[in-house]
């Protein structure tokens, strides 16, 4: 531990020196006697051995949901007596200590152990904690000893999912089994239609009532249950508002919710973070993909860039044919909007969840500012109409709307848009 002088050391040394010099100069022993208490404190304080303490830090569960408490334990073993041991935790800005449990000053006897239970609460993301500072002091307080204790642990805080009962159904399904009722006709559960019997049809497919009515063999056709490919496209060009409830936070929360629910339906889910830095995760399914997706989402951040980007930079295998692309975007950056229009022009099944950005912009104090806001809103409405004009459903998600209602808006539009496309 590194010793450091406290203000006592200098003050007491000066007082002792003044007392002794004054006693000599004035030939008065009382002045030297009056300096004795200070001299004693100095002498005893400077000859004390350095304190020895061991500090440990552990986190039982390094994964948590945003807003939940993350329990941690700080173990302290004092090898020497410590009149005052201060423990504090240096944390990333997004992590806070619940109930101000730290910093705390303890008093420990030699050989005494103490276990401090400290709970963290963190914003969504991946954070490194475990950077502890300890400062020990003996009773005389002439010196303090400081030490940095690094016990790094990485915590992963997932965004709290939104409540959703239904997801967006893709226009096309894939070949493997899943939970989405396909539009094609094959073996399945969902009734589709009837048709005349042809050689090779199974006997169990015969619809005996229709057969009796028509006098010829009629079989049932069914829709099979298939899985789908879903690509979540995150617009990470801009972020407005605070980290928790800002645009990027809402983008990540929506993406995490959708990814989790699609994966539960055995769909393949991929991710494209389209921003200053392009990052992607190819579609996949299963628990491993779920963890990779969530960890990838936690790493999402805005990287500012002037470079122009379009869909050509996205690898083709990240956007498989017949995949449903769900773009989650505030529609603030022209590069993201152009990429969406290009995707639709290339025939991708696209739906847009727009993160409402109006609440983050001021209403304007002057007429010019209010006019500028109206023009900006008109431009945003124009962007929405351009997307809708190409058959892309756009649902707005703001603070007062549930994601469920936004998706219902998208679903309603897609129902009519699909009819129109046919």
């Amino acid at each position: 531990m590194t010793p450091r002088a406290t203000p006592r050391l200098t003050a007491y040394a000066v007082l002792v020196a003044l007392g002794l010099v004054a006693a000599l100069g004035a030939r008065r022993a009382e002045l030297a006697v009056a300096a004795v208490p200070f001299a004693l404190v100095l002498a005893l304080g400077l000859t004390r051995p350095a304190p020895r303490v061991r500090v440990g830090f552990s986190i039982p569960d390094e994964r948590a949901l945003e807003g939940d408490d993350i329990p941690t334990t700080v173990d302290i073993d004092a090898e020497t007596s410590l009149a005052r041991l201060e423990v504090r935790h240096v944390l990333p800005p997004a992590v806070e200590i619940v109930d101000d449990a730290l910093p705390l000053a303890l008093s420990l006897q030699a050989g005494e152990s103490r276990e401090l239970n400290v709970a963290f609460r963190a914003r969504w993301g991946s954070w490194t904690v475990g950077d502890l500072r300890v400062r020990a002091r003996d009773r005389l307080g002439v010196l303090v000893w400081e030490r940095r204790v690094a016990r790094p642990h990485r915590i992963r805080v997932y965004p709290r999912p939104e409540q959703l009962s239904r997801l967006l159904a893709p226009a096309h399904t894939q070949a493997t089994t899943g939970n989405e009722t396909s539009k094609v006709r094959a073996d399945g559960l969902e009734f589709a239609d009837t048709r005349p019997f042809v050689p090779g049809d199974r006997l169990r497919s015969v619809n005996w009532r229709a057969t009796a009515r028509r006098g010829t063999l009629v079989v049932n056709e069914r829709h099979p249950d298939r899985n789908a490919d879903v690509v979540l496209m995150l617009d990470s060009f801009v972020d407005v508002g605070d980290a928790r409830d800002g645009i990027l936070g809402r983008v990540v929360r929506a993406a995490a919710t959708l990814a989790d629910l699609y994966l539960k339906r055995r769909d393949r889910v991929g991710l494209v973070s389209f921003g200053g830095t392009l990052r992607w995760l190819e579609p996949g399914s299963g628990p491993v993909q779920r963890y990779m997706l969530v960890d990838a989402l936690l790493e999402t951040q805005v990287r500012f860039s002037y470079a122009w980007k379009d869909v050509n930079v996205i690898p083709a295998r990240t956007l498989p044919p017949h995949a449903l692309v769900v773009a989650i975007s505030p529609l603030l950056d022209a590069r993201a909007v152009t990429a969406m229009l290009d995707l639709r022009a290339r025939g991708h099944d696209l739906a847009v969840v727009e993160i409402a950005a109006e609440s983050f912009a001021g209403t304007g104090d002057t007429d010019v500012e209010r006019l500028a806001r109206r023009l900006w809103q008109l431009r945003r409405a124009d962007v929405r109409e351009r997307l809708r004009g190409m058959g892309v459903a756009v649902g707005r998600w703001d603070e007062e709307t549930e994601l469920e209602a936004t998706l219902e808006e998208v679903r309603t539009y897609r129902r009519h848009a699909l009819v129109a496309r046919r």
Binding site: Y12, A34, V36, A83, A105, T128, P152, S273, R279
Partner: protein, 169 residues
Amino acid sequence: MATGRGVAALGALGTAILAAGLLLRLPAAVGVAAAALGGAYALEVVVEGARLDRGAPLVGVLLLLVCELGYWSHELRTTSPDEAGVRARHVAWLCVLGLGTLAAAVALEATAELARIEGVAIDVLGALAAVGALALLARIAISAGLAPRRARGPHVEPERAEEAPWRGA
């Protein structure tokens, strides 16, 4: 009469410095205030006192307690909150410290009173003892390996050690 006013002025100055230091959170003011209060006592002793003042140990201990309480007040406002019981133990420690240093100071004063010898030799011896005491304190401070105060900069988030599951540019 003039001496009395001087003592009162120095005492008032020390008290004012102490109060200002506590209000403005300046720990250095505690030592300055103690020096002023000690100066008031020294003036009183030098000008008025003909005999050895038997209250000197008590004055020294009271000055020490003023300093300790002043620094403690400062620490309570600038450092981490204490767990339950630490303050009570500190109060008890201050009592022990006061009594212990009082005993040592009384013993020294009694020795000085018994060995009341005057002359150049005893003056030189006293000077050497004073210089020796200061040198000893300095030597102890150096051997304690005091490090200079480190600047406390803003916390920088540690670099992420693990690879993200991303691929891309």
